[in-house]
């Protein structure tokens, strides 16, 4: 049938338009779809919420702009929660291009919660070498970071003055879009037994479920959905909850396209066609 063949050979630009509209419209006109909190994100929230005021946590924001849509709102939400609880944050990144993002996440959260540099948080900036830095912090924080990002010696910063290893930290939080999370589990938790919470991209999240059930992780925040759940828990409406509206609609469009494609294939085969041929050539044509 001609219309089935035409449907199977639909111009990719029509699909692009549909996806573009699906992503843009909910951002312009928010739908405020509900966000249910999963046990993994609830566990991460509860672990941070249980920290007494004055506790110190190490927050490593190990990501670059390519995945900031998922991890930047997560960073802001976690930081805001820490600041609200008067938990002091020592923040750092293991990615050179993560420096600007980390700094922006901290300043956004600090502005929203009234936190002050060096009193409520310290920003150590970037240091190269995943395992080396993680083990180095376990042995001697000042060996890795003699000064903070702005050149201030750690002994002159109230937040870091009495911190020299994981032993003086109540928790390590890693927000990562790469294998950095594996190393934090191996070294910060495995070797130095630091309580650990991980936040990662949605596609990575299932890799860390085994560590959650083995109690090596206290909580896991996965992707934009996890960030949206965290925003709901701290009662804010940030980029993640806005983004989930767009993600919902785009998922719906992709599922609709897959169903339409399969239905067209089925009809084509029933009418004796070749189903539009195999899915050969460029999948992106």
């Amino acid at each position: 049938m001609t219309w089935v063949r035409q449907l199977l050979a639909i111009d990719r630009r029509i699909i692009f338009l549909l996806v573009g509209a699906g992503a843009a419209l909910p951002l312009l006109f928010p739908l405020n779809l509900p966000v249910a909190v999963t046990p993994r994100v609830r566990a991460a929230y509860d672990a941070i919420d249980a920290l007494p005021p004055g506790s110190k946590v190490l927050l490593s924001m190990d990501y670059e702009p390519d995945i900031m849509a998922e991890l930047f709102p997560m960073s802001v939400a976690v930081l805001r929660h820490c600041f609200r609880k008067h938990v002091q944050v020592i923040a750092m990144t293991l990615y050179p291009a993560g420096t600007g993002l980390g700094e922006r996440a901290i300043s956004t959260a600090a502005k929203a919660e009234g936190a002050v540099l060096n009193r409520d948080y310290a920003w150590l900036g970037y240091k190269s070498g995943f395992q080396v830095v993680m083990i180095g912090i376990g042995e001697n924080l000042r060996g890795m970071y003699p000064v903070d990002f702005y050149g201030t010696p750690l002994d002159s910063i109230p937040v870091t003055r009495h911190v020299n290893s994981y032993a003086q930290l109540q928790m390590v939080i890693n927000l990562s879009g790469s294998s950095a999370a594996d190393y934090w589990i191996q070294f910060a938790q495995g070797r130095y037994h630091a309580p650990l919470v991980i936040g990662c991209t949605a596609v990575m999240a299932t890799d860390y479920y085994p560590y959650l059930s083995s109690k090596q992780l206290l909580g896991l925040i996965g992707g934009m959905k996890g960030a949206a759940e965290y925003e709901r828990l701290i009662d804010t409406f940030g980029d993640a909850r806005r983004g989930m509206d767009a993600q919902s609609l785009v998922h719906l469009i992709v599922v609709g396209l897959v169903i339409v494609g399969n239905a067209a294939l089925f009809i084509s085969k029933r009418s004796g066609g070749d189903g539009g041929g195999p899915a050969s050539g460029s999948m992106t044509r």
């Binding site: 639909i10 990719r12 699909i15 692009f16 996806v19 992503a23 779809l33 509900p34 966000v35 249910a36 999963t38 670059e64 702009p65 390519d66 995945i67 900031m68 849509a69 420096t99 600007g100 922006r104 190269s128 070498g129 080396v132 083990i135 180095g136 042995e139 001697n140 060996g143 990002f149 702005y150 070797r191 949605a202 299932t206 890799d207 479920y209 085994p210 059930s213 959905k225 989930m244 509206d245 993600q247 919902s248 785009v250 998922h251 719906l252 469009i253 992709v254 599922v255 396209l257 897959v258 169903i259 339409v260 494609g261 399969n262 294939l265 189903g275 899915a279 999948m283 992106t284 044509r285």
Partner: protein, 205 residues
């Protein structure tokens, strides 16, 4: 001729593995020193990487190879960012910070965002129920895609529960098996390298 590198690999690998498990302060001091050496190696790797990047793109420009214009952009960017960083610093409000926020950050995000369009088009053309296995995968993917986003809860209150079960039971079982397999494989490969059984890293003789 290969005895030297093999011996070095054996000694380094065995020493670092042993130091991980020895809590004595002298062993830990040696471990810390080796870690500091690693930082120096990282620094040299960065220099080596920059030189390699420069040579590779400079060759393209010299030979007017295909896409040599992009190589010019790479070289100019490398020089300009390095010079600005050294001259004006990299803190908030500096030119490097401005370039990062207005060029690097949006470009990297855009590249990743394009995936949504490509995946949607690819899913339409390639995600077909052509066999029982493909149908199973297709149905699971649809349930996951709908159940993991906010709209899934509106469609059916059971969908999020189903996706949680899929993640917690079949997915977790497979992930555990893969993790154990990868771990054993990594230990086996490391041992083969330390003991000199695996020598491909030395290159051809």
């Amino acid at each position: 001729m290969r005895r030297g590198p093999l011996l070095l690999t054996f000694l380094s690998g065995a020493a670092i593995a042993a130091l991980f498990f020895i809590p004595h302060y002298r062993a830990q001091a040696a471990n810390s020193m080796l870690l500091e050496w690693t930082l120096v190696v990282y620094a040299f790797a960065l220099i080596l990487g920059s030189i390699s990047l420069w040579n590779s793109h400079a060759r393209k420009v010299r030979n007017r190879a295909e896409g040599w214009g992009f190589s010019v952009v790479t070289l100019v960017s490398l020089l300009a960012i390095t010079a600005l960083g050294v001259w004006k610093g990299v803190g908030e409000g500096t030119p490097v910070d401005w370039i990062y926020n207005t060029v690097n950050s949006p470009l990297a995000s855009t590249m990743f965002a394009l995936l949504a369009f490509v995946i949607a088009s690819a899913a339409f053309r390639a995600f077909r129920a052509r066999s029982v296995e493909a149908t199973l995968l297709l149905v699971t993917a649809i349930v996951m895609m709908i159940g993991r986003v906010s709209i899934g809860e509106l469609i059916s209150h059971r969908l999020p529960g189903i996706t949680e079960w899929l993640l917690d039971v079949p997915n977790l079982a497979a992930k555990r098996a893969i993790a154990i397999g990868v771990g054993l494989g990594a230990v086996s490969t490391a041992l083969k390298i330390i003991l000199g059984i695996e020598r491909s890293y030395l290159g051809r003789s």
